[in-house]
Amino acid sequence: MTVIDKNTAPLLHVEGLKQYFRISSSYTTKAVDGISFDIWPGETYGLVGESGSGKSTTGRAIIRLYDPTGGMIIFDGHDISGKMSREDERYLRTNMQMIFQDPMACLNPRKKVKEIIAQGLEIHHLYSSQKELEDKVYAIIDKVGLSREHATRYPHQFSGGQRQRIGIARALVMNPKLVIADEAISALDVSIQAQVVNLMKDLQDELGTTYLFIAHDLSMVKYISDRIGVMHLGHIVETGTTDEIFENPIHPYTRSLLSAIPRPNPRIEKKRVAVEYDKEKEGVDYTAGHIHKLTDTHSVLATDEEFAVWSKDHSY
């Protein structure tokens, strides 16, 4: 596990990020409603939650596929919220990359693999000669475990796992500081998921890339993340190191998520009863709560009364 030096500045600082979508004059969806978190260089931050919790929207707002409604995003000292200056935008586009969920939909079917991978370098003129461009492309192809003869093929000629490798290569060829992986493995088969996750970990060890790993599969998130943020209905309800979240979950939503992880052990699985959590029934209002810090790294969103009840049977 990466040791995080909290004295250094975070690579990504998100504060009060809001992303609303106006549906009609009378109705606005608050997909992300004022979330704050930091990601330190070299770590993997996992963002989990059910569909509709706003985890993907968060990723897309950070990389500025959307225009955030409010809040501040500081990426490696550059303010990338609101209207960006030319330099800030260039910095963002070259140093933050994204890996998408569906590897077929995110690769241009009419371009060869090497063209797909080289595209980012070409757009940003990050090479001095054609030879350097080619070297960079082939180096990354080797690194993600594809072979060089794959470079002249088209995306449809690959299997799902290989396509995801192309997606990873395309992101990493830019030598980014931060990679946002949005459900990067959920469209893959189980045996291939493990390959891709191992690859992402190996590349992180080698290149020191930072990941924002967005997923709904908690067991995979546990495996890859140093820290985890749990999102529900546009709020981060709990955040902490992976151990803190798994060993000592405070928020009832986190607990219900953890209890819902299926376990490949029939005798246990047949008896497992998932903890239910219904925000309405419990009368939890996320907007009324504020952040309670349990440790330096572990915090939970709650009102004072809720916090007193939830943390009663926990040792801190």
């Binding site: 059910e50 569909s51 299997s159 799902g160 796992g161 290989q162 088969d189 189980v190 045996s191 291939i192 998921q193 493990a194 390959q195 996750v197 191992n198 970990k201 709904h216 599969d217 908690l218 067991s219 995979m220 546990k222 495996y223 798994f246 219900s256 998520l257 819902a260 992880i261 299926p262 376990r263 490949p264 052990n265 029939p266 005798r267 246990i268 699985e269 047949k270 008896k271 497992r272 998932a274 959590y277």
Partner: protein
């Protein structure tokens, strides 16, 4: 559970099924000699990666095989009680797809698909969709059908069934929609319920509830269930028996304990080991190297051999037969041959098995 079974309870028996598809780039042998038995009241899970042929197998049972697919050989014998109340057995491979669909689909064999939004008709109220099958197959009057439909909605755990009856699919949440799909499937009291990845499109918190619902209703009505899934967590929760498929063949089958606590085929080892475990803190996930074979090419030997770190020389030459390794456990791997060298499962997996066994007994 593994009591000797009464053959009278057998609803489905598949023997030596071979199916291939004609494609622009050649013939794909998608199913290669599948054998399967299904008894009343039990649950079978077919596990495999995409392209392993698990969906094709059940689509054949439902008579919804794609137009370029054809059954080369084999039989699917389905035993049911006909309109006259007599027991009848038909070989579904000899019927036309149309006949299967008119006589059996929905009435005797029903299916729950992966994505409830695409399997429901967005222009019809859910009540109408539930009634459709009952009016067609059971010849019920509209009033009777409506009464039963509302009962069914209540049964699948939908609150306020009278109100929901008049609503359209888009007004319901994903979990609710899947409950409606289950209600439709159960409307004509089928003998066999096929669930094709029923929870993949749903959130983890809802998955377990849907599986529990199917289980409860199964216990009441005593029909047989076939699950198709690649999620071993789902299998662990619901299945009595497991068939592991790879490249169109069943490579390991047995009851749930045999597969999860004593797997023998290296592919099953890989599948189990590549599931992330929330208890262990191992640094690397076990991954099966390579990708599934392309079935356009003829498979010589064991289809899994190129990805198998334990492959023997013979694996590249001849296809392994099904070995009986005791109980109901059958394995298609040369490693189970008495002449084969002894190969133990990977250390990481062995440790986990140990732990699983202990936990399973303790709780």
């Amino acid at each position: 559970m593994p009591t000797p079974k009464d053959l009278n309870d057998r609803v489905l028996s598949i023997r030596d099924l071979n199916i291939s598809f004609d494609t622009a780039s050649g013939t794909v042998h998608a199913i290669r000699g599948v054998r399967m038995d299904l008894f009343r009241g039990e649950t079978i899970a077919i596990v495999g990666e995409s392209g392993s042929g698990k969906s094709v197998t059940v689509k054949t049972i439902m008579g919804i095989l794609a137009n370029n697919g054809h059954i080369d050989s084999g039989s699917i014998n389905y035993t049911f009680v006909n309109e006259k109340g007599e027991k009848e057995t038909v070989d579904m491979t000899r019927l036309s797809q149309k006949e299967i669909r008119y006589r059996f689909c929905g009435k005797h064999i029903a299916m729950v698909f992966q994505d409830p939004m695409t399997s429901l008709d967005p222009t019809m109220t859910i009540g109408k969709q539930i009634m459709e099958g009952m009016i067609l197959h059971l010849k019920l009057s509209k009033a009777e059908a409506k009464k039963r439909a509302i009962d069914l909605l209540a049964k699948v755990g939908i609150e306020n069934p009278e109100k929901r009856f008049k609503q359209y699919p888009h007004e319901l949440s994903g979990g609710m929609r899947q409950r409606v799909v289950i209600a439709i499937a159960l409307a004509c009291e089928p003998d066999i319920l096929i669930c094709d990845e029923p929870t993949t499109a749903l959130d983890v918190t809802i998955q377990a509830k849907i599986l529990e619902l199917i289980k409860e209703i199964q216990a009441e009505s005593n029909f047989a269930v076939i699950y198709i899934t690649h999620d071993l967590g789902v299998v662990a929760k619901v299945a009595d028996y497991v068939d592991v498929m790879y490249a169109g063949r069943i490579i390991e089958k047995g009851n749930i304990d045999e597969i999860f606590y004593d797997p023998r085929h290296p592919y099953t080892w890989g599948l189990l080991a590549s599931m992330p475990d929330t208890d262990t803190n191992s640094k690397r996930l076990f991954a099966i190297p390579g990708t599934p074979p392309n079935l356009l090419e003829k498979v010589t030997g064991d289809a899994f051999a190129p990805r198998n770190p334990f492959a023997l020389k013979i694996d590249y030459e001849a296809e392994p037969p099904m070995y009986d390794v005791g109980g109901q456990h059958r394995v298609a791997s040369w490693l189970c041959d008495p002449r084969a060298p002894h190969v133990a499962m990977p250390e990481q997996l062995r440790e986990r098995m140990e732990k699983m066994r202990k936990e399973g007994i303790l709780e």
